[in-house]
C-alpha cells in the first residue's frame, strides 16, 4: 500500500526534505482548521498533485486510498451518530431519533476529510520518494548521522516484509488448530501470539544487518564519499514557494469568505 513507485515525474525529482516541509506546513494548517472546506480542498489538491505531478495512475491511486475512504467515512458516520443522540440547541437536521446542530455536521465532516487529507499527503510523499533519496537527504541536508540514516534505510527495507511475516505466522498457527480472531478471547490473544515470533524475526534481522553494515565499514572515522547525492536546487525552492503561496492564497480567500475557522466559537 505504502510502497515507492519507480518512475520519473515532477514530484519524483523534488528533494525529499522540501516535500516533507510542504507536508508539515499543510498538516499543521489543516489540523487547526475546524471548518471542512480547507480539509476538502487540501485533500483534492494532494490527490490532484499525486496523480498529475507525481504521475501515479488514477486507478492505482484510488485503489491505494480505498481503505482510507472507508475509514474516513466510518469516522464521519460514527461521529454523526453519537453527536446526533445529544439534545442540543440550534438543531438544523432531524432524522428519527437523531438531531444535529450545524456544529455537529461541521465537526463530523471536518474530521473525516482531515484524515483523508493527511493520508493523501503522506501517500503522495511515499509513492514519489525513493527511500535512498530520503535517507541521503536526511544525512546530507538534515545532518543526521550516517549510522542512524542507514539504520532507517534497513528498517524501511524490512517494513514491506512485515505483513508477509504476520500472514505466515497467522497461517502457521491456524494449521496448528489455533483459530485466528475467532471468538472473543481469541480476538484479544491473537495479537500477543503474533508478537513473540514477530519480535524474534525482527530482532534477528536487525542483528544480522548490523553485522553486515559494520563488516562493510559503516561508521568508520574516515571521510565518507557518496555515489549519489541529493541537492536542493532552484526548482525545489520554486516548488516550495509556489506550493505554500497557493495554499496561503486559498486560506486568505477562505478567511475572506468566512469559510476558515480556528474554533467552534468562531462558527457560532
Amino acid at each position: 500500500m505504502f510502497a515507492y513507485i519507480e518512475q520519473d515525474s515532477y514530484l519524483h525529482r523534488r528533494n525529499p526534505m522540501i516535500k516533507l516541509l510542504v507536508i508539515a506546513v499543510l498538516t499543521v494548517v489543516v489540523c487547526v482548521s475546524y471548518y471542512p472546506v480547507l480539509p476538502i480542498i487540501t485533500f483534492l489538491l494532494a490527490f490532484a498533485a499525486t496523480w498529475l505531478a507525481g504521475g501515479i495512475p488514477l486507478d492505482n491511486l484510488l485503489r491505494r486510498l480505498l481503505v482510507f475512504f472507508v475509514v474516513s467515512f466510518l469516522f464521519m458516520f460514527s461521529m454523526l451518530v453519537l453527536r446526533g443522540l445529544n439534545e442540543e440547541a440550534n438543531i438544523v437536521l432531524n432524522m428519527w431519533i437523531f438531531h444535529w446542530s450545524e456544529e455537529d455536521l461541521i465537526h463530523g465532516i471536518s474530521l473525516g476529510f482531515r484524515i483523508l487529507a493527511l493520508v493523501t499527503l503522506s501517500m503522495g510523499f511515499v509513492l514519489t520518494t525513493r527511500p535512498r533519496d530520503l535517507v541521503l537527504s536526511l544525512i546530507q541536508q538534515c545532518k543526521v548521522s550516517v549510522v542512524h540514516g542507514y539504520a532507517t534505510m534497513a528498517t524501511y527495507r524490512f517494513l514491506p516484509e512485515l505483513q508477509d511475516h504476520v500472514d505466515s505466522i497467522h497461517l502457521a498457527q491456524e494449521i496448528r488448530g489455533i483459530p485466528w480472531n475467532k471468538g472473543v478471547v481469541s480476538r484479544f490473544t491473537s495479537p500477543f501470539r503474533v508478537f513473540l515470533p514477530l519480535v524474534c524475526v525482527a530482532a534477528r534481522r536487525g542483528e544480522r544487518v548490523a553485522c553486515a553494515m559494520e563488516s562493510r565499514g559503516l561508521g568508520r572515522d574516515n571521510p565518507r564519499t557518496y555515489y549519489k547525492r541529493t541537492v536542493i536546487d532552484k526548482n525545489d525552492w520554486v516548488f516550495l514557494m509556489v506550493s505554500l503561496g497557493i495554499y496561503a492564497a486559498i486560506c486568505i480567500v477562505l478567511i475572506r469568505l468566512g469559510l476558515f475557522h480556528y474554533s467552534f466559537a468562531a462558527i457560532k
Binding site: A172, I175, S215, T225
Partner: protein
Amino acid sequence: MYDNIIELKDLKYIYEGETLPVWEHLSCSFLKNKVNAVIGPSGCGKSSILSAINGLIPHVMLGNLEGQVILDGVDVTAVPPVVRCERTGLVMQNPDSQFCTFTVEEELAFGMENLGVPVEEMGTRIKEVLKYIDMEGMEETNLNNLSGGQKQKVAIASVLVTKPEVLLLDEPTANLDTENRKMILELIARLAEEEGFTIIIVEHNIADMLEHVSRMIVLDADGNVVLEENTENLSRDELASKGIIAEHLEDYMCLDTDSKDKEPIVELSNVSYAYPIPGRKRVKGKTIINDLSLTINRGDFMAITGDNGVGKTTLMKLIFCICKADKGQIKLYGKDIYDYKVQDLYHQMGLVFQNPENQFATNSVYDEMNFSFKRVNIDEEEKNSRIEEMLQRFHLEDYKERSPFVLSQGQKRRLSVACMLLTQQKILFLDEPTFGQDYENRQELMKDMQKLVEDGVTIVMITHDMDLVKQYATRVVRIENGCVKEDSLCLPT
C-alpha cells in the same frame, strides 16, 4: 612453499551469556591467494571462525575472546571490523540478511562509500564487477526482483568492489537450487584462479570445487582441528573414505508409478486455481494450478519439485483449504476436503513451514508442545506421555524448559515437526524443510522423516534440494506450469 596470510593462535571464545566455549585452543592458518575450506559438523564453530577473522567476534558479537588473530604477521585481534573490512570481506549465508539498500547499484556502492572511494572510481568498479558476474546493465534493478543465485552474486560483488585481500564466504550456496549453486561455485573458482583472491569458504560439501581448494581445515563437533592439510597431499578417495567430502549421488532411478496396490489418502482431480488480482478479490489473475491431478498414497515419501513459481506452495495451500480450488475436486480419505471441519482436517494433516519460528507461540519447548493440545479433548496423563515421547524421539528432552526461539536451527525444525505430530497426524507436509539448515541438520531431519515413514506416516515435501530427493524420496513429482510433468517412483541411493 606457500605463504600463510592469516593465522589463528590458541583462540578461545565464549559467547556472551553462554558457559561453554565455541572452540578452545584453536590454532590454524590459511594460505595466501588460495582457496581454503573449513569443514565440520553443525555447531562446531565454522562460521564463528569467519566472524573472528572479520572482527565481528568479539567487537559486534560480544563475548570473551582469548588468543590472537594474525593478519599478514600483524596481531589484529583488537582491530574492529570497520577497520578490518579494508582487507577482509565477509559474505553471509543468506544474502537478504546482508543487503542494506534497495537496488544493485546502491548495494555495490555502499561498502565503497564507507571506505571513502572517489565517486568516479566507484562507477568504474561497479561496471567492471557487474560485467565480471554477468549482470551488466542491472544497476537499477531492485534487489527483491533478483533470483536467489543473482542475489548471492550481488552479495559477493558488493564485497569484491571494496577490493579486499581476503574473501570470507559462509556457506554461500546453502539456500540455492542446483543450477544457482553451480553458478556461484563457478564464480568462486574464477575469483581464485583469475583474480588471485585469498578465499576462506565454509561449505558443507566441497566435492564440487575440490580441485580449486588448496588447504582444508576440518573441525570435529567440539571445535577441535582434526585435519589441517594442503589438498595436494590428500587424494579424493582418501577424503571420501574419511567422510570429509560426499561424492556425487547418482540420479534417482525412475520407475513408472504403479499405485494399484497402494491406498490413496489424498486425491486431486483436475484441480485449477488462480490467485485473485490484489485489491480485486473477484477478478482472477494468471492460472497457477492448471488441471492438476495427483494421488498421494499411504506410506509415500514424496518430493514435489519444480522451479520457483510453478505452483508447489499453492498446491499445499489448496490441500489445506487455505485457498479454494476454482475447478476440480480434492478428497481426503475419499471425502471432499470442503466437507471436513477445518479443525478436523488439520488433525489429519500437519504442515511444517519454511521458517519454523513462525509457528511458535509460547516461550518454552514444553509449553509449545502442550499448545498443540489446546483444542484436543484428551486427559493430562495422555498429553504428558505423548509430549515425553516426542521430546525423546526428536532429541529435545534436555531442552524442554528452553525458549523455542533460542534453539539451534536444527532443533527448531525438529520441534516444529514434533508439534505437528502430537495430535497423531498421519500425513505430514513439509515446505522447503531444508531452507536455512546446514548439511548435518538436513541429514538428521531427513533420517527422522524416514523413521516416520517406517512408522506409517506419509510424508510430502516441497523441495529444490535434489541431493536430498535422490537420497530419501521414494516418489518424485515434478510440477511444471501448474500441472504434474513427471511422477516417478524412485529408489533412494
